[in-house]
Assembly symmetry: C3
Homo-oligomer: 209 residues x 3
C-alpha cells in the first residue's frame, strides 16, 4: 500500500471516530453512529475527489468502508463510556485534520492542479469532513471555534506540502513531519487557547473614527 493510502485510511479512521463519538454523545443508535462516522471520515475525501473529477475513493475502493465500521465498533465497545468525551473527540479530529491536509494536497498536486488550488483543496479536504459532520448533526462547526486554531494548522500543513512537493523534498519523513506539526499546533492551541483576531477588527472595544 502506498504512503498516501495509509495516511488517508488513518485520517478516515480518526475523523470517523470523532463522528461516532459525537453520535454517542447525542445518543444516536449504532447505525446513526456508522453514518455520522462515515460522513466525517469520508466526506472530505468525497468533496476532494468530486472537485478533481474522479470517482470518490469511498465508492471506488471498498477498503475505505473499513475505517468507519471500525470506528463505530471502537466507540460502541470501548469509548462509549469515557468520561472526557469532548477532549477525545477533539484529539481524534486533530489527527484527521493533520493527515487529510496532506493527502488532499498531494492528490491535487498529483492530478496536476496549480499550487494555490492544491493547497486550497488540501485545506478543503481537511476541514470538509468535520464541517459536514457538524452540519449534519446540526451544531455549529468546530471550524468556527473562536478560542483556538483549527483551519490555520491545516492551511500551514497544506502550504508546507505544496512547497516541499515542488522542491522535490516530499516523502515519508516529510509527510510525518508535517502531520506532527499540524497535529501539534492544533492540540497546543486547544491547550493554551491560542487564537487569532476576530472577523471584525473593531467589533470589541472602541470604534474607529
Amino acid at each position: 500500500m502506498s504512503l498516501a493510502l495509509v495516511l488517508d485510511l488513518f485520517g478516515t479512521f480518526f475523523f470517523a471516530v470523532s463522528g461516532s463519538l459525537l453520535a454517542a454523545r447525542r445518543q444516536f443508535d449504532i447505525v446513526g453512529s456508522l453514518f455520522l462516522g462515515s460522513v466525517a471520515g469520508l466526506g472530505g475525501g468525497v468533496i476532494r475527489d468530486l472537485v478533481l473529477g474522479q470517482v470518490p475513493s469511498a465508492f471506488d475502493r471498498p477498503v475505505y468502508l473499513i475505517p468507519p465500521l471500525a470506528a463505530a465498533l471502537v466507540v460502541f465497545f470501548l469509548l462509549g463510556s469515557v468520561e472526557r468525551f469532548r477532549r477525545l473527540l477533539l484529539v481524534f479530529d486533530a489527527g484527521g485534520l493533520a493527515l487529510f491536509c496532506i493527502t488532499g494536497t498531494v492528490k491535487a498536486l498529483e492530478a496536476g492542479m496549480n499550487p494555490a488550488a492544491s493547497a486550497l483543496l488540501g485545506v478543503t479536504t481537511a476541514v470538509g469532513g468535520g464541517l459536514l459532520r457538524d452540519v449534519v448533526a446540526n451544531r455549529e462547526p468546530q471550524l468556527f471555534n473562536r478560542r483556538d486554531l483549527y483551519a490555520v494548522p491545516a492551511m500551514l500543513g497544506a502550504g508546507l506540502v505544496t512547497v516541499l512537493w515542488h522542491a522535490g523534498m516530499f516523502g515519508t519523513a516529510a509527510a510525518l513531519g508535517v502531520a506532527a506539526v499540524v497535529f501539534g499546533l492544533r492540540v497546543l492551541s486547544l491547550h493554551y487557547g491560542w487564537h487569532i483576531p476576530r472577523a471584525a477588527g473593531t467589533w470589541h472595544g472602541s470604534r474607529r473614527e
Copy 2:
C-alpha cells in the same frame, strides 16, 4: 418509460411531498415549498449522479422537474390543512426511501460499480434527499432518529437489490417486492417503535469493568 425511470420519478415525488409538507409546517412560502421539495426529491439523485460522474438527471431531463412542482401544488391545494401532518410526512418519506434505495443501487450496478459500492450508493441515494431536506431546514435529520429504523430498511433494500441483480433475478416483480419490504419495515418500525442499540454500548446503565 423504463421501470427505473418510473420508480425514480415516484420516489422523487414522494420525497418532494415530504419536503413541501415540512415547508408548510414551517410556514415557508410556495416557492420555499418548491425548493425544499426539490432539495428533498432531487438531492439524493444529484449526489448519486455526481458520484457516478454523470450529469445529474435533475438537470438533464426536464421530466424530473414535474414531481417537485406537483408536490408543491398537492401540498398547497390538498394537504396543507391535514391534521396528522407529521405522520403524513413520515409515510411519504418512507415511500421515497423504499424506491430510492432501489434506483440508486441499480444505477450504480449499471454503471459497473462493485457490489459494496453499489449498495453503499443506493443507501446514500435513499437517505441523501431526506438528509439534505432536514439539514437545509435546520433540524436534526430523520436519519438520526433513535426510536425507529430509518437507514436499516434502506441498507436491507440496497443489499437485496445487489444480490438479486448479481443472481440475474432482478426485474419488475423483484423491485416491487423489495420496495414493499423496505416501506413495510420502515412503517412498522415507526408504529411499533422497533429500534437498535445506541452508538455507545454502555452509555446507559452500569459501566463495564
Copy 3:
C-alpha cells in the same frame, strides 16, 4: 477578461462579503470569516461546475481566491463596526444573487444544456452560495424567508437570460439590465415586504370544505 468572468468575480465578492459579515456578527475569527466568505462566494459556483462536469472555477483559476480574501479584509478593516449590519448583509447578498443567476444560466447554456435545465442551474447557482453560508453557520436559510422575495427574482432573472440568449439578444447591456431587475426586485421586496402565498393554501384562516 470576458463579461461573464467579471460578473462572476463581482458576484463572488458580494456573496463573500455577506459571508464575512455574518462571521463578524457571530464573532468568528478572521480565518472563520475567510472560510464563511469563501463558502458563500464560491459555493454556488462549485455546485454549478460540478453539475456541469467541469473542474470548479474556484479550484481552477486562482483569481477566484481574490474576492473572498478581499471580502474578509474589507469586513475586518471597514465594515466590522457598521451599525446597520443586517441591512448591509442583505444588500450584498442581493448583489450576489443578481449576478449569479446570470452567470450560472449563461454557463449552463454555453455548455449546451436545455433551456429548462439552464434556468434551473442559474437559480441553483444564485441561491446555492447563500444557502450553504446559512446552513454552515447553522441558521435558517435566507431563501426560506417568508416576508420578502428571494428565489422569485433569481427565477425571473434566470428565465429572462434563457429567453434573451435563445433570441440572440443577450449581451453586456442585457446582462446589466437583468441584474438591475433582479437586484431591484429583491431590494424592493425587502423594503415593501412583498411576499407570495404560503406553502399551505389553507394553513391560516378557515379550512376548505
